[in-house]
């Protein structure tokens, strides 16, 4: 009986010579490998070099072009991209966008905090311990001669740390709103940091005993030296009033509310203006500042112009359970088509300036940045509550092309009209006309998952890099949309830090290009039916090809 049990538990051991001695050798070998790896990391210089960060903001530049001018990856060598190292993040659903310098990768590491990793090896230089979740791009800045890094925790606020050692310099919160949600990445200039403000109310409304809703989205400016507030601009100026009640009058309803700011602002250095988009209202009455693009003076926060694209759009998480006739769901409802993606200030090949806004309705709008008047609008998909255009687009101004990822994600219980057309679209920047479309077969026909391009994308040279919800990272040719390289992230990885690591959906801030590297987090499972994971993937292109 005992012999049978042993055989059953170790089928490979019987008669194949893979016995106790072999296992001992294996264990000792793995231990030595681990010690070797640790010894290698012990030699890591704790001080990162900050001479040349490969991005100055979420949009790589302040205009949010999402074009990386300092990448050596192009159509001729993209096929040689290989996995250089993988870092296992401390939690799934990574939402931090890495910053890369000549020798370091900075990234939010789940509940551990902000980590500085040696770009060549993935070894840790330092960690700034933070118990929340870093949920923005990591931004470089300077205070006098001191290099700093700025990032958001979604609920706890904005932080500035010393880039040399990760020591906290200041922590800023928005006190003008009771429940701010720091979802959008700030924009850092020489003297100020501009922080987009959304509101937790969009989720609190799911509680039927919550008196929805009283808060506004906004934009705040802070002194980069001290973290002190310079100004705050709510996107709804009017104070919310009681508009009704439910549950026998015990729970009051309020409005107007909402118009959250979800995306990073773009900056017009010539005019010293900020541009940003807003989301829908949470309740009625709706305002003329929801689903709109704002232009404001960076110095004062004074509104220059506001252009609303969708009127009368009121929606919260309460509407996600509309079958229950949720009392906090605005009536009439939706369609929930915010400007979640960051605005882009671009220049056409004829020299014309355009401000671009991508909407969850799948509409892309080009505006005159001076006035906000519409130059062209192109619709690319069906749209829906997860986009349409969701996180962000990219541009190649020298080719005169705007690249638009369309999610059109199927959300159970939310049948949107029309046929979903997820994919990557290239538009003529001058006219908004479609130049090419790229999509591919979804694996979701055979597996339980969803497809779509929800993640922000990035461009460089003559390539565009995009990641899909169903776990493929793709490089396509910028001029034709031809697929050049692809990586399937639905797998387990061996991470340099020894953490069990799994890939999953590509979503949120998307891929980063820097020098010869392609860096991306995988496993964004925040939204329904997306495969979670915890991988930071660093790909490198071969030299001389």
């Amino acid at each position: 009986m005992r012999r049978r049990s042993q055989k059953g538990s170790m089928p490979y051991a019987a008669g194949r010579g893979f016995g106790r001695f072999s296992r001992l050798v294996l264990v000792v070998g793995l231990g030595l490998c681990s010690l070797t790896a640790r010894a290698t990391c012990e030699n890591t210089d704790p001080v990162p070099n900050m001479q040349s960060p490969y991005a100055e903001g979420w949009g790589i530049d302040h205009r949010n072009t999402r074009y990386q001018p300092a990448s050596s990856i192009d159509a001729s060598n993209a096929s040689t991209l290989t996995l250089k190292w993988v870092y296992g993040l401390a939690s799934t659903t990574p939402r931090a966008y890495p910053l890369i310098t000549e020798d370091t990768v900075f990234v939010g590491d789940g509940g551990r905090g902000l980590v500085a990793l040696d770009r060549a090896t993935g070894c840790e230089r330092w960690v700034h311990e933070h118990t929340g979740a870093i949920a923005s791009a990591i931004l470089p800045g300077r205070i006098d001669e001191r290099d700093i890094l700025i990032f958001n925790d979604r609920t706890q606020g904005m932080y500035a740390v010393d880039a040399r050692d990760g020591q906290l310099i200041w922590h800023a919160v928005v006190k003008d709103e009771p429940v701010p949600w720091y979802s959008g990445t700030p924009l850092v200039t020489e003297h100020a940091v501009f922080l987009p403000v959304a509101s937790l109310e969009v989720g609190l409304a799911a509680n039927p005993f919550y008196g929805c809703c009283t808060t506004s989205g906004g934009m705040a400016a802070f002194d980069i030296r001290t973290g002190k507030k310079l100004w705050y601009l709510p996107t709804i100026e009017a104070q919310a009033q009681v508009t009704g009640s439910h549950f026998f009058g015990f729970v009051q309803k309020h409005g107007p509310s909402g118009a959250a700011v979800w995306g990073a602002p773009s900056y017009d250095a010539k005019r010293d203006w900020l541009f940003f988009g807003t989301g829908q209202n949470f309740t009625h009455p709706t305002t003329d500042t929801s689903d709109a693009i704002f232009a404001v003076e960076a110095k004062t926060g004074k509104i220059v112009w506001v252009h609303q694209f969708t009127k009368n759009d009121a929606y919260t998480a309460a509407c996600n359970i509309k079958a229950l006739n949720h009392p906090n769901c605005a009536e009439p409802t939706g369609p929930d088509v915010d400007f979640g993606a960051a605005t882009m200030l671009l220049q056409t090949r004829s020299g014309r300036e355009l401000l671009i806004g991508g909407q969850k309705s799948a509409d892309v709008h080009a505006m005159d940045p001076a006035t906000g008047s519409t130059v062209w609008t192109t619709r690319l998909g069906r749209g829906g509550i997860i986009g349409g255009v969701h996180w962000g687009m990219a541009a190649n101004e020298s080719l005169g092309l705007l690249y638009v990822p369309i999610s059109d994600k199927e959300v159970k219980g939310f049948p949107a009209p029309g046929t979903p057309t997820p994919g990557l679209y290239a538009l003529d920047l001058e006219t908004g006309e479609k130049r090419w479309t790229w999509t591919r077969e979804s694996r979701c026909a055979e597996e339980e998952c969803v497809f779509g391009l929800s993640s922000a994308i990035i461009a460089a040279n003559n390539i565009v890099v995009t990641g899909s919800i169903d776990g493929y990272l793709d490089v396509v040719a910028a001029d034709t949309g031809r697929l050049l390289w692809s990586h399937d992230a639905w797998r387990d990885y061996k991470a340099v830090n020894g953490v069990a690591t799994r890939g999953g959906a590509f979503d949120a801030h998307g891929p980063m290009l820097a020098d010869d590297l392609l860096v991306v987090t995988s496993g964004y499972g925040y939204v329904g039916r997306q495969r979670g994971g915890n991988a930071l993937l660093v790909f490198q292109v071969e030299a001389d090809k």
């Binding site: 009771p178 429940v179 937790l200 109310e201 609190l204 509680n207 005993f209 919550y210 008196g211 809703c213 009283t214 808060t215 549950f247 015990f250 729970v251 009051q252």
Partner: protein
């Protein structure tokens, strides 16, 4: 001991628990709504609202069950199902007396296990309510909360 009471059946106890598990949260929700402790955005600037909800849940439990436990050793669910909580020391040979267990034990020791039914999703204590409830399958039909508080649950009508 011929007039003694016998241990209550497991099914009766289960139904009694289900009734209490519906009534107490329902009253809590009503009190939360009346008090308005989760109604305003300002309530969520810190975590005090959680304490308020917890205190209102305790108030609901006492409002519904306080008198019954004091006088008869019964929650509403147990009254409906004809069972009561008595001291384990009140009997022998499988029969027990009718005198209710002391109120302080029922509130300060036994009732502490009640909220666990609703927090089993918290990972580090997820097993405790499971262990508590599974002990009902012992011969003595005493859950962990019975053992800790020195009580048994008996059927009031003779069998």
């Amino acid at each position: 001991m011929s007039d003694g009471l016998f241990l209550a059946g497991r099914f009766r106890r289960l139904v009694a628990t289900v009734i209490d598990a519906i009534l107490v949260p329902t009253l809590t929700v009503v009190l939360v709504m009346i008090a308005g402790v989760v109604e305003h955005a300002e309530d969520y600037t810190d975590n005090w609202w959680m304490l308020w909800v917890f205190l209102l849940a305790i108030a609901s439990y006492l409002l519904l069950n306080g008198y019954g436990l004091w006088r008869h050793g019964q929650t509403v669910g147990k009254q409906v199902m004809g069972v009561a909580i008595v001291p384990a020391s009140s009997g022998g040979d499988g029969q027990y007396g009718r005198e209710p267990a002391p109120l302080w034990k029922l509130i300060c020791v036994r009732a502490l296990f009640f909220p666990l039914l609703f927090v089993s999703v918290v990972p580090w204590i997820a097993l405790l309510p499971l262990v508590d409830q599974l002990l009902i399958f012992m011969k003595s039909r005493r859950c962990l909360h019975d053992l800790v508080s020195g009580t048994v649950v008996v059927r009031l009508r003779p069998q």
